[in-house]
């Protein structure tokens, strides 16, 4: 088992280096450096430009900058944002709980709705419900997040007035951030009104971000269930005279869940990617919105650090899923 884990971890290292290198290079391929995007019509005198470039270390050859950066990263130093002059790591840590809270709820939403929908669709294969679920999930999967978010805002927030348009908390409340998770912080502060307000603010972004994973979970559950339902042992269980619910809930679902759990693990990447758009629409102060602004301002350290930390999160989750999977299913462990 230890060997299995070590092999998995060693595979993470090249991915980590690759991500660092690609982000480093890609943002530098975008025309305009951090100084030039700030300058307006007036332009900047060449000597001043050189001076500022020198201060930011942008006048050194690329490989030199990259090695410096990697050196810093290995010592746990992600650098300082060129815009706010705060440490990239501390900015990330301030904003990440908001993204995590949203992503966790979106995943919960996707699982709680997607799993039963997939099961029922499989059991009632070919029925109107089945076609409905499959049709809706295909639509959900193809829905552009931006458009979907605006549509929900216009309908529920502006039209019906049921949910707030954007933000994390009603402006009447001010809760000092402790963990950064609004639901937890409001409870810790004993502000129940604020807790409800935070929950209220989570509904629409959660639905928007959870839509794609929901579609994936529903479809995956359905196909896994269909496969399992055709197995001999299910027929045997039925022949033994077991109740239908027991066959599906106990015998079929357990086995069908294995691929579904993997898919849920893989959705972490999709969720964090989708968070970038969702956060922009809902003015959600998480890392997604922060990354977009970093691109616009060519804030190299913030962008590189942010992408790296997100990639690390995704890799860690995938690693955990892999290990867990190995624990659950010994065949995987031995085949590597």
């Amino acid at each position: 088992m230890l060997r299995f884990i070590l092999t998995r971890v060693s595979l993470v290292i090249p991915t980590f280096l690759g991500v660092t290198f690609l982000t480093f290079l890609l943002i530098r391929l975008v025309p305009g450096d951090p100084i030039e995007v700030r300058v307006g019509e007036r332009g900047i005198p060449p000597e001043r430009l050189l001076e500022l470039r020198h201060e930011l270390g942008l006048d050194r050859p690329l490989w030199h900058q990259f090695l410096d950066y990697i050196g810093g990263v290995l010592q746990g130093d992600l650098g300082v944002s060129l815009v706010t002059r705060n440490s990239v790591f501390s900015e990330f840590v301030t904003l990440f709980p908001a993204t995590l809270e949203l992503a966790a709820l979106a995943m919960l939403f996707a699982t709680v709705v997607g799993l039963p929908a997939g099961i029922i669709a499989a059991v009632r294969r070919g029925s109107i419900f089945d076609h409905g679920v499959m049709g809706i999930s295909l639509t959900g999967y193809s829905m552009p997040i931006f458009w979907w978010g605006l549509l929900l805002i216009l309908f529920f927030s502006v039209g019906l007035g049921w949910t707030p348009v954007s933000g994390r908390l009603d402006l009447l409340y001010y809760v000092e951030p402790v963990t950064g998770f609004m639901l937890i912080d409001t409870l810790m502060a004993g502000e129940y009104g604020a807790f409800w307000s935070a929950l209220h603010h989570l509904i629409l972004p959660m639905i928007v971000l959870g839509t794609v994973p929901l579609a994936v979970v529903a479809r995956m559950t359905r196909s896994a269930m269909l496969e399992v339902l055709g197995e001999d042992y299910i027929r045997t269980a039925k022949a033994k005279g077991l109740a239908g619910k027991r066959v599906i809930g106990l015998h079929a679902l357990r086995n069908a869940l294995i691929p579904v759990v993997t898919v849920i693990g893989l959705q972490v990447g999709t969720l964090l990617g989708g968070a970038i758009l969702t956060e922009t629409i809902f003015s959600w102060p998480g890392v997604g919105k922060w990354l977009i602004e970093s691109i616009n301002r060519r804030d190299y350290p913030a962008l590189q650090g942010g992408v790296l930390l997100i990639a690390t999160t995704v890799m860690t989750v995938n690693l955990l899923v892999d290990v867990l999977y190995g624990v659950l299913n010994p065949r995987i462990r031995h085949s590597r």
Binding site: V37, E41, L150, G161, V165, S166, G193, T280, P285
Partner: protein, 533 residues
């Protein structure tokens, strides 16, 4: 699901219950478009970051609310010496500093603070010079290092600025956001605690609103400063809810989650006009978008060609299509909201036939080939340069001119235009200090016509230049107005540019908001604004 809805209902009930006692306090919510870099206008260049620091700070002098006129700020009065080189400011007594959990001021604002604030930007060995990046772009752009000879404290409430040369717009420069006054005492306290970065993160000022808290990328909170020297603001609290998407800002305004919304989508303007709960305000921006003819290159060295092009392009059609109601055709190089704008000037009419005749006279009966440079980015004075270039191209083809549209990456584009590589190039300008000098001398003077200078027509015309240089050396506004009016006449005759448009800026304001005034500089100010209860 039932439980969730019930929960949501409870949430609303709780919010309302809390809202009831809080109703006495007036809180204005402004849905701002982005996050600030920090809270110091000295080191920033964007409107977004000026907006968040203006409530907190005062300058020696400031622009009147909704205008470009300079009025007293922390300086109650000032006088200029006969030779125009010395400015003596008499500071207001009893201007209080804000306090916070970390800092309790022991004295009022005085000359030490003024010296401290200017020296921070000016002197490289100042202990705070490097804080927040230390790039004082505006201080440098307004040529302060060349202009300032010395700043002296005469007594606690008198400061004397001595200049190296006469510069009439100097007073207007001091009203720009970068010239804010920070507290020297606060700086000392932070230095002792080894927390100098905090000066720009947790600002202490003398302004009408006191900074309370900033939740990164989400909310900025201020409360009215009770002891403000100008009297407490009618509002009690001011909140910036950071909302980057324009469609979402509009949705928040409709749902009553904010009171004032900047930068609406042009596509939403019609609906906003019809909405009875919204007051859609508009104002010509302090800007101009133009097409410059490089007069150092043939055939644009011939004034007849430049005039012909002014008549060959259907300006109104271009402005209607590109600005979609958010722009007005421009006839002068300065915007109509600026003092000395010459109303008497008549623009060239759209007349392709006369254009053809003029071109024939100039020796181009069959037209010619040229390039037409267009910005690759959206700018406040031109939302879509590419589209504008294509429309101009079509109009020019009608008089026989074949124009090739050229685009570069923004930084490269600006650099090449300033070097004078183009024949025809689009650009524009947004005013910094509300002074005509900031347009006429900076964009059209001989000094700026050098390679690398911002006069991209490379037009150096002695008669014009004499007028704007003389106006720079005159401190009397009435005399300056005459000089600038005359300069605009010459500009129109010589036609180094095709003046295209001044953009129109819109603000969507809830009907509950009382006395919000749009600012010609495009900055958003909230002192003096009130809410109906």
């Amino acid at each position: 699901m039932k439980r969730i809805l019930l929960g949501a209902g409870l949430g609303v009930a709780a919010t309302l219950a809390l809202a009831a006692p809080a109703q006495a306090a007036k809180t204005l919510v402004y849905c701002s478009e982005g996050s600030p870099e920090n809270f110091n206008p000295m080191v920033n260049t964007t409107g977004t970051s000026f907006d968040v620091s203006l409530p907190v700070y005062n300058n020696l002098v400031q622009f009147e609310r909704g205008g470009t006129k300079v009025v007293p700020g922390l300086a109650e009065t000032w006088e200029v010496s006969e030779d125009g080189l010395t400015y003596t400011f008499h500071l207001r007594k009893g201007a209080k500093w804000h306090s916070s959990n970390d800092f309790k001021p022991t004295r009022d604002a005085n000359a030490d603070d003024v010296l401290w604030s200017f020296n921070r930007q000016w002197k490289k060995d100042h202990p705070f010079h490097k804080v927040s990046g230390g790039a004082y772009d505006y201080f440098n752009d307004m040529a302060m290092p060349d202009l300032l000879k010395s700043i002296e404290k005469i007594d606690d409430y008198t400061v004397k600025f001595t200049l190296n040369k006469v510069e009439a717009p100097f007073i207007a420069n001091l009203a720009m956001p970068f010239a804010a006054i920070q507290s020297a005492e606060y700086a000392d306290a932070l230095q002792k605690k080894n927390q100098i970065d905090k000066i720009d993160q947790a600002p202490i000022g003398t302004g009408p609103f006191q900074f309370v808290a900033y939740q990164k990328d989400a909310v900025i909170r201020y409360k009215a400063f009770e002891q403000y020297w100008g009297g407490k603001a009618p509002l009690d609290n001011l909140v910036f809810a950071i909302t980057p998407d324009a469609a979402v800002r509009y949705a928040k305004l409709k749902a009553g989650e904010c009171h004032i919304v900047p930068y609406p989508n042009p596509a939403d303007l019609e609906a906003m006009k019809k909405d009875a709960a919204i007051n859609l305000m508009e104002q010509e921006g302090l800007n101009v978008g133009y097409l410059a003819f490089n007069v150092t290159k043939k055939p644009f060295d011939d004034v007849r060609v430049r005039r012909a092009l002014n008549m060959a392009i259907d300006k109104k059609a271009v402005v209607d299509a590109v600005y979609q109601g958010a722009g007005v055709p421009a006839k002068n190089p300065i915007p109509p909201t600026m003092w000395s704008y010459n109303k008497e000037i008549e623009d060239y009419p759209y007349d392709p036939e006369r254009a053809k005749k003029l071109l024939a006279e100039a020796g181009f009966p069959d037209g010619f080939e040229t390039d037409l440079w267009a910005m690759p980015v959206q700018r406040p004075y031109n939302p879509n340069a590419k589209r504008m270039a294509e429309m101009m191209q079509a109009d020019l083809a009608k008089v026989g001119i074949k124009a090739k549209v050229v685009q570069y990456e923004w930084g490269e584009y600006r650099k090449r235009l300033q070097a004078g590589e183009h024949q025809m190039g689009m650009l524009g300008w947004t005013g910094d200090n509300g002074d005509p000098d900031n347009f006429l001398h900076v964009l059209l003077g001989c000094e700026a016509a050098r390679p690398g200078g911002s006069n991209i027509a490379k037009w150096c015309y002695k008669e014009f230049d004499d007028l704007v240089v003389q106006a720079k050396r005159t401190t009397d506004i009435a005399a300056r107005t005459k000089l600038y009016e005359q300069a605009q006449v010459i500009f129109k005759e010589e036609a180094p540019w095709l003046t295209v448009a001044h953009s129109v800026v819109h603000m969507a304001v809830s009907k509950n908001v009382v006395d919000y005034k749009m600012d010609p500089f495009g900055i958003h100010r909230f002192y003096g604004v009130d809410l109906k209860q």
